[in-house]
């Protein structure tokens, strides 16, 4: 829907400021608000800005796009909003972005991201035929219709060096459990989640339609994703493209495999670990338990919670294109750095993540904070791999 259609719904925002804090623990909840501080960066401020834009009281210009695009769409404000406005917040943010895009107000970083994804099918200008290179040297094979799962890796897992390590870890664990699965390699396309959240609906539709056609052609019935971003968009947006698939995040599959006794975790992992909830798995999809269930089965692992956890979790700052645009980086108030300090203060030696974007955001933050020697960041699949019997 265009922004104009939200004119009345915008009035549902009570301007109460609950979107700034968790309503149960009263910790800060908004990554952009914490980074920049001005009310414009909180959900309340964005509602006012949208209203004033519609009323013509302020003009559409580049600075408004800078404010609009610094939201990570993490859903923290949605979780805290006590009135019906909560049901419309993210749709309104999306409408704001679409309008910014139509008015050509987007930042060079966002423009480059979208153009590169359109031209190359990934944000790094990497060649499509290299998309499956991360699996070279492993026993991970191409998907065949008889396979139970298609393992969808996504752009970060396919091209980002750290993401590729995580992609391999998930694949190796699935192999060890005897799961019948395969990957698409260079037939895989970008999932389009970030393009959609950046307001480029046309590009998203192009990407989603391409992937959906591939799924149909290969008779894919079940997908396991590496990234919560892929999980989210395939679960909620792909059905309109006729994909007709069951979508799982890999932590859900690992949970079931462990419960079924298909993985032998007999090596001790004696570390004090905290788990960072990825926004697109937790708040956006309500999956808080599967990753914790996996971690709780690791022998020797002590799981400690950060003050902000589950629905009150604090975003790493990488959502909705900010992983690529880096618009929240640059100071000690950057969300990733705030989060990594929180993990350290919780007494953790290791932060477990379940998202390749969170992995990079938090690992970078640990380095900047000078904590990389004392606070490792690992994906849950990597921890499982280390705990598996030889």
């Amino acid at each position: 829907m265009p922004l104009e259609d939200y004119r009345e719904l915008l009035r549902l925002c009570r301007l109460c400021g609950n979107c700034r804090q968790s309503g149960t623990t009263y910790h800060a909840i908004c990554p952009a608000g914490e980074r920049f501080g001005f009310d414009a960066y909180y959900s309340r401020g964005r509602a006012i800005i949208a209203q004033k834009l519609l009323d013509g009281e302020i003009a559409w210009a580049t600075p408004v796009a800078e404010v609009v695009y610094r939201c990570t769409m993490c859903g923290g404000c949605v979780e805290q909003c006590p009135v019906e406005y909560r049901d419309h917040i993210l749709a309104i943010f999306l409408a704001l972005r679409r309008e910014c895009l139509e008015r050509r107000l987007i930042s060079p970083a966002v423009k480059t991201y979208l153009e590169t994804v359109y031209a190359y099918g990934n944000p790094w200008k990497a060649r499509r035929e290299q998309r499956g290179d991360w699996a070279v040297g492993t026993a991970i094979k191409h998907y065949e219709p008889a396979d139970e799962f298609l393992y969808y890796v996504g752009c970060v897992g396919s091209y980002d060096p750290r993401g590729m390590q995580v992609a391999r870890a998930v694949g190796n664990v699935l192999l060890a459990a005897g799961v019948s699965f395969g990957i698409l390699g260079n037939e895989e396309g970008c999932d389009g989640n970030e393009a959609r959240l950046l307001g480029e609906e046309g590009l998203f539709e192009y990407l989603a339609a391409g992937n959906s056609q591939t799924f149909q052609r290969l008779h894919v019935r079940r997908i396991v994703t590496l990234s919560p971003h892929s999980y989210h968009v395939m679960r909620h947006e792909y059905p309109r493209f006729g994909a007709g698939v069951e979508v799982n995040h890999y932590t859900q599959v690992l949970r079931d495999l462990l419960a079924a006794g298909r993985l032998d975790l007999s090596r001790k992992f004696p570390r004090r670990v905290t788990y960072h909830d990825p926004c697109f798995l937790g708040r956006q999809n309500g999956e808080y338990d599967a990753p914790r269930a996996v971690l709780q089965r690791i022998p020797g692992l002590e799981l400690v919670e950060m003050p902000r956890n589950r629905e009150n979790s604090f975003c790493c700052g990488g959502g909705a294109g900010n992983f690529y645009a880096g618009a929240l980086d640059g100071t000690d108030r950057s969300p990733g750095r705030i989060r990594i300090r929180e993990a350290r203060e919780a007494g953790a030696e290791l932060v477990a993540v379940a998202c390749p974007s969170c992995m990079t955001m938090l690992e970078d933050a640990a380095k900047v904070e000078g904590l990389e020697e004392r606070l490792a960041v690992k994906d849950i699949a990597e921890i499982v791999q280390e705990a598996m019997a030889e």
């Binding site: 004119r7 009345e8 009035r11 549902l12 925002c13 009570r14 301007l15 109460c16 400021g17 609950n18 979107c19 700034r20 804090q21 309503g23 623990t25 009263y26 920049f36 501080g37 001005f38 009310d39 414009a40 909180y42 309340r44 401020g45 006012i48 800005i49 004033k52 009281e57 302020i58 003009a59 600075p63 408004v64 404010v67 805290q80 006590p82 009135v83 019906e84 406005y85 100071t331």
Partner: protein
């Protein structure tokens, strides 16, 4: 041409903590009330006392208005910069400086939220009186220094009664500590020194900026009970005088932490019912009351609850038309809560305004009847709240109006109603708290001229250039 003032402000707080862009300014121009919006010229996020000092020195020299703000949930237009200037956003000054359980106080910065201090104290087995209206994300300090209505008012009184000390930056840039902390390392009480804190309480930021606040803390009781009763009066006499006298009697028993009432419409709106409400069913009470008490043991709680129930029974047998009501759900609600303002969407449109007063309880019957008449004349659901304050026979009497922000007829009606509410409450001998400018002016019209003259002299003395939240207080 470079903005010279912007440059000066940037030198103090850094360029990323000052904004003059229209998008940022727009967010600080309004609240959820019908008070007309007005944009500041600058928004500055201050994080230290030294920065506030430097900003106020510049503002004084340049005659620029300064309006302090914290959680952006303010009502009454209190943080709307009616004459432009600088909005000083203090929400990042959010440290709990000290919690002294032995001496019984906490010291907080302006940005510490109600929920933040409550959560911290809860872990330590303590509590603090929290402002009852705002959500947990609102600042504690503004509610306290504005004489806000606090929860558990029957035990603690008005929020400002809990203040034990403060640090304030004067418009000149000087910093002063007031209360025991001016002499002692402990922020324990306002007395026995001459109490200068009154120069900053209820002044709506017109005399200086409070940068630290000491507040009483108390051991937190673990047990809670609530009793409820409905008043089956009639529309022509919704709160009979004998009911007011019963409330006074209950307060004087000194058992309840809170004694509050809600008009029938207020209860329906609180339950999420939308405009328009059906007519009140005959079997429903006109006003729902509740008394809440806390205790440190089950035995103590049982005794307190028995006393409250006996008082209700006695009143009933004495002919007061009341009957017990089920308050099981309400008893589960703890303050603070993020849901405290959700009723603002009763008419759709998210607007909320209110006029609140501190009024003698014995005048509540007259006040409630006349407030309802105003609501009905403007075709709004009567929404009235009442709460008794500690050890007294006065309390909070408030008329609240959910309205539609984009409906100009609604906005116009609420503006007129607010002015009528003020007159009704003043007629009842009440005083308006967190008063919008027109309500202040209405009070001063009835006030002792010498009092108003003294207010003006105090303001002139502290803020000779008139930079602090000008256009407020009707001065």
């Amino acid at each position: 041409m470079p903005d010279r003032i912007l440059g000066l402000l940037e030198e103090i707080v850094g360029p990323d903590k000052v904004s003059a862009d229209p998008y940022t300014l727009a967010c600080y121009a309004c609240d959820a009330t019908v008070n007309p919006p007005a944009r500041p010229d600058y928004v500055v996020i201050a994080t230290t006392v030294e920065q506030i000092q430097a900003i106020l020195r510049i503002a004084s020299a340049e005659m620029i208005p300064v309006v302090p703000a914290v959680g952006m949930s303010s009502t009454g237009g209190l943080t709307i910069p009616v004459r432009g200037g600088i909005v000083l956003d203090l929400h990042l000054m959010n440290r709990i400086i000290e919690i002294n359980e032995d001496v019984g106080y906490a010291v907080v910065e302006p940005g510490v939220t109600i929920g933040q201090i409550d959560a911290e104290l809860k872990q330590r087995g303590h509590w603090v009186q929290v402002p009852a209206g705002p959500p947990g994300s609102a600042g504690l300090l503004p509610g306290y220094i504005l004489h806000g209505y606090g929860h558990l008012g029957a035990k603690f009184g008005i929020n400002s009664e809990q203040i034990t000390g403060m640090e304030v930056v004067l418009p000149s840039g000087e910093v002063a500590r007031l209360g025991a902390c001016a002499v002692s390392p402990y922020w324990f009480h306002r007395t026995p020194l001459p109490d200068l804190m009154g120069l900053f309480l209820g002044w709506q930021g017109a005399t200086g900026i409070v940068t630290k606040l000491g507040v009483n803390i108390y051991p937190r009781p673990a047990f809670k009970a609530m009793v409820g009763w409905g008043l089956f009066s009639n529309h022509d006499d919704p709160l009979p005088e004998r009911c007011a006298r019963f409330l006074i009697k209950m307060q004087r028993a000194d058992v309840a932490h809170d004694i509050s009432g809600h008009s029938w419409g207020a209860v329906q709106i609180g339950r999420g019912r939308k405009w328009p409400l059906p007519p009140k069913p005959a079997e429903d009470p006109e006003i729902f009351f509740s008394a809440t008490t806390y205790a440190f043991s089950e035995e103590e709680l049982a005794v307190k609850k028995r006393i409250l129930e006996a008082l209700i029974q006695e009143a009933k047998e004495g002919g007061l038309p009341i009957a017990s009501t089920d308050v099981t759900d309400r008893a589960k609600t703890e303050m603070p809560t993020k849901y405290s303002l959700r009723y603002s969407d009763h008419r759709g449109g998210g607007g909320l305004d209110y006029i609140g007063s501190i009024t003698p309880v014995i005048k509540w019957p007259q006040g409630v009847k006349r407030l309802i008449e105003v609501f009905e004349r403007y075709r709004f659901t009567p929404y009235i709240r009442l709460s008794i304050y500690r050890g007294t026979v006065q309390g909070m009497l408030r008329a609240l109006v959910p309205y539609h922000r984009s409906d100009s007829a609604d906005v116009d009606a609420v503006r007129k109603m607010n002015r009528e509410f003020v007159e009704v409450l003043l007629d009842c001998g009440g005083l308006i708290y967190k008063a919008p400018d027109f309500a202040c002016e209405a009070m001063w019209r009835r006030a002792d001229p010498a009092f108003v003259a003294l207010l003006k002299r105090a303001k002139q003395l502290l803020d000779p250039n008139g930079i602090m939240n000008p256009g407020r207080l009707g001065l």
